[in-house]
């Protein structure tokens, strides 16, 4: 079975390709990148004239909510949201119920993905049992069952001692440790960024220094243990600077940024908009600029969504009571294209690299992820860079609607994806 995507422009940073070319897929694998107009008579022909063909996007930071919170999202709806956003591969965080802290839960997620998933899913294992920040999980078993990294995202490790031991174990097993960086003693009951907007609204604040301190500590522990530390959802200028210095020093540390942390500031919380409440919170323009600078100079390695669905009724409450988290998968590429590529912060190729080959490298995803190299699994996203449209929370594939980008005009969107050779149109 052959499929030919013809008439498009292929952008594949892993091979330094950016030119008009046709893509031939055969039996679920990339077969060849062909000169435009090459006739392949026995292939299904898909016209992608005027479109951009890239490796399927990869998001290493999503919350699929299954098992336990299927009313927010499940593996089926979450991977549909992924595919609608151009993502063919996602890594899901362990804060499910039960948490992904045993091999059985890892296997459950992989089995469910086999049954209902429309994109590849890689589970991330918890660092501590039930994410209680206490006893380490059986990481070797998690890894052999299919977990590709370790994290206590959403329940950041407070004890430096536990963090150190988790890092030693991760280093031994060659697994990256992904840290949500927050000194909880400084954030306490905070519900948004500490600063002028929080002062206006009378909302308890979460100071930026709470992230910076945790980052500095975790970097020092990574240096001590030799563990590959990956900094989740960088939100402050301080973190960008600490990461830049750590990299210069040769410490094994990488970092990621979410669309909302460079495209929005804490002013999005005005009128007590709970769809602008997430953790780490929206910060200030200065932080947005520092994150963009970090993406541009390579300090920040990749772009993720921290896709965190919550039911509408859970967000339709007092600001204090609303859960942290927003959707991301279906707005990530359009926001990235509009706010980073159109504005000249990144070239299209650089942006695609941070959504394909770079995240694949960070988590050592299976061979063939994030590339259109012949022989690689045929995961492809076809993007339209021209359409200007308005994000509408009521038309998403996700089960939830919690996006602060509702009503935002953006340019560019995913048209369809190909997952292991199968064309997914939503």
């Amino acid at each position: 079975m052959k499929t030919l995507l013809f008439g498009g422009r292929i952008v594949d940073p892993s091979q330094h390709i950016d030119r008009d070319a046709d893509l031939l897929i055969e039996d679920g694998k990339i077969s060849a990148i062909l000169e435009p107009g090459t006739a392949i008579a026995d292939a299904e022909q898909i016209d992608v004239t005027g479109k951009v063909v890239v490796p399927g996007l990869i998001d290493i930071h999503v919350h699929l909510r299954e098992p336990g919170f299927e009313y927010k999202e499940d593996i089926e709806s979450g991977t549909r949201a992924a595919a609608a956003g151009g993502f063919t591969r996602v890594c899901c965080m362990p804060n499910t119920n039960p948490a992904i802290d045993t091999a059985a839960t890892v296997r459950f997620i992989l089995e469910r993905t086999e049954q209902v998933g429309v994109a590849h899913v890689h589970p991330i294992g918890a660092a501590t049992r039930a994410m209680q920040g206490d006893q380490l999980t059986e990481m070797a078993e998690l890894k052999s069952a299919g977990a590709i990294a370790i994290s206590d995202d959403a329940f950041p490790l407070q004890s430096a001692e536990t963090t150190r031991r988790a890092m030693e174990y991760c280093a031994m097993l060659n697994l990256p440790l992904l840290t949500h960086n927050e000194d909880k003693a400084l954030t306490q009951k905070g519900a948004m960024n500490e600063g002028y907007t929080a002062t206006l609204l009378g909302i308890p604040g979460m100071p930026r220094v709470a992230e910076d301190i945790a980052v500095a500590r975790n970097i020092m522990l990574a240096k001590l243990t030799g563990c590959h530390l990956h900094l989740l959802h960088i939100s402050t200028a301080g973190t960008v600077e600490l990461l830049r210095r750590a990299k210069a020093e040769g410490i094994k540390v990488t970092g990621e940024a979410c669309q909302h942390h460079w495209a929005l500031t804490d002013e999005a919380c005005m009128k007590f908009q709970t769809d602008a409440k997430m953790n780490p919170p929206l910060r200030t323009q200065e932080d947005c600029e520092a994150i963009k600078q970090g993406l541009q100079d390579g300090t920040i390695d990749c772009i993720v969504t921290d896709h965190a669905p919550h039911a509408e009724y859970e967000k339709e409450v007092e600001f204090d009571a609303a859960p942290f988290g927003i959707l991301g998968l279906e707005t990530s590429f359009p926001i990235t294209y509009t706010t980073l590529v159109k504005t000249g912060v990144l070239t299209l190729s650089e942006a695609i690299a941070k959504m394909t080959s770079e995240p694949a490298k960070i988590l050592s995803l299976p061979e063939g992820a994030g590339t259109l190299c012949p022989g690689a699994i045929a995961d492809v996203a076809v993007l339209d860079l021209d359409t200007i449209w308005t994000i509408d929370r009521n038309t998403v594939q996700s089960k939830s609607k919690n996006t602060p980008f509702h009503g935002t005009e953006v340019q560019g969107r995913a048209v369809f994806t190909v997952v292991a050779g199968r064309v997914i149109r939503l």
Binding site: E194, G195, Y196, A198, T199, L200, L201, G202, I203, P204, G205, P207, K271, F272, Y313, E316, V317, E318, F319, D320, A321
Partner: protein, 311 residues
């Protein structure tokens, strides 16, 4: 006006109107028969998720003087204990045909949330978290204006726990809109982040903060602030920031002292000052009476217009 949620978002024109109306309505409170028929057939529901005697009673008094129905719902009687969401509670009160809901809640922004949900019922913010307490701001302004004749160019010091105070925020916006100059005075642990970006002068030294002021608005010090490590002791707080006859010597000779109550005598305010000894103008009881007048004005502004003529 449809709602009264904040003074930050209320125009100077509306504030002027409310203060003028309150000034007029206040006369009713001095009559032997304190009753006018203005709001007959209108229903006000007070929905208080935090304990309050003073503010709730003041609203109830205001409604009854204006002949409106006043129904009080306290949190213990409400559906909260049954797990009902705030949204559902609000929709129920609207369906019960409340013309206005007076809300107090420990979470900032709940009146705004209510106003976004309810299409037919007016919302009055009676204090939300550390956000705003607009009728307190209005009654403070009315009290100052009665004595000083105007608000413009007055120097007003707000002293105490600014960070956690909804009274402070409503005072800041209301007073500055009316042309007064506002100072915030308190220990750094109780000043809000980026306070210097507010239209105020910020002081962490009482002597400097009180120098030459016309009005001192003393905030209540919640004793749990000390337990949370924001203050070393009430004794030291009182020594550094307590308002006493001594500390007021730096202010204008005709300085007036306000306190939103309830007071901690001997902590943020000395008993002598509270009781107006040594010729000090303590306006604390005037504030309470003016509170009724202000709330009458607000109820009138929100419910007084015939529904036929509403847009």
């Amino acid at each position: 006006m449809k709602h009264l949620l904040t003074l930050r978002e209320t125009s100077k024109t509306d504030i002027d109107y409310l203060l003028d109306t309150a000034g007029t309505l206040r006369e009713i409170l001095e009559r032997p028969v304190k009753k006018v028929p203005t709001l007959r057939g209108r229903a006000m529901i007070t929905l208080f998720y935090e304990n309050s005697t003073r503010t709730r009673t003041s609203f109830e008094m205001a409604a009854k003087i204006m002949s409106a129905e006043a129904i009080n719902i306290a949190v213990s009687q409400s559906s909260v204990s049954k797990g009902e969401s705030l949204k559902d509670s609000l929709l129920t009160l609207q369906a019960l045909k409340a013309d206005c809901i007076v809300m107090r809640h420990s979470s900032s922004g709940t009146p705004e949330f209510a106003a976004q949900i309810l299409k037919h019922t007016s919302i009055i913010n009676a204090g939300d978290g550390r956000h705003e307490h607009p009728t307190q701001g209005l009654l403070d302004m009315l009290t100052i204006r009665q004595t000083k004749g105007q608000l413009e160019d007055l120097e007003v010091a707000i002293v105490g726990d600014i960070a956690h105070s909804r009274v402070a925020r409503s005072n800041i916006w209301g007073l500055t809109k009316m042309g007064a100059k506002v100072r915030l005075v308190g220990p750094r642990t109780l000043l809000p982040p980026d306070a210097d970006r507010l239209p105020v002068q910020v002081y962490d030294n009482l002597a400097q903060g009180l120098d030459g002021v016309d009005v001192v608005n003393v905030l209540r010090l919640q004793t749990e602030r000390m337990e949370k490590g924001l203050l070393p002791s009430l004794r030291e707080y009182s020594r550094l920031f307590g308002i006493s006859q001594q500390s007021l010597k730096l202010a204008q000779p005709d300085v007036m002292v306000l306190h939103p109550g309830p007071m901690n005598r001997g902590v943020e305010i000395s008993a002598d000052v509270a009781d107006g000894k040594f010729g000090i103008h303590s306006a604390i009881e005037e504030q309470v009476t003016n509170g009724i007048a202000v709330r009458m004005a607000v109820l009138y502004a929100l419910m007084g217009v015939s529904s036929d003529t509403e847009a």
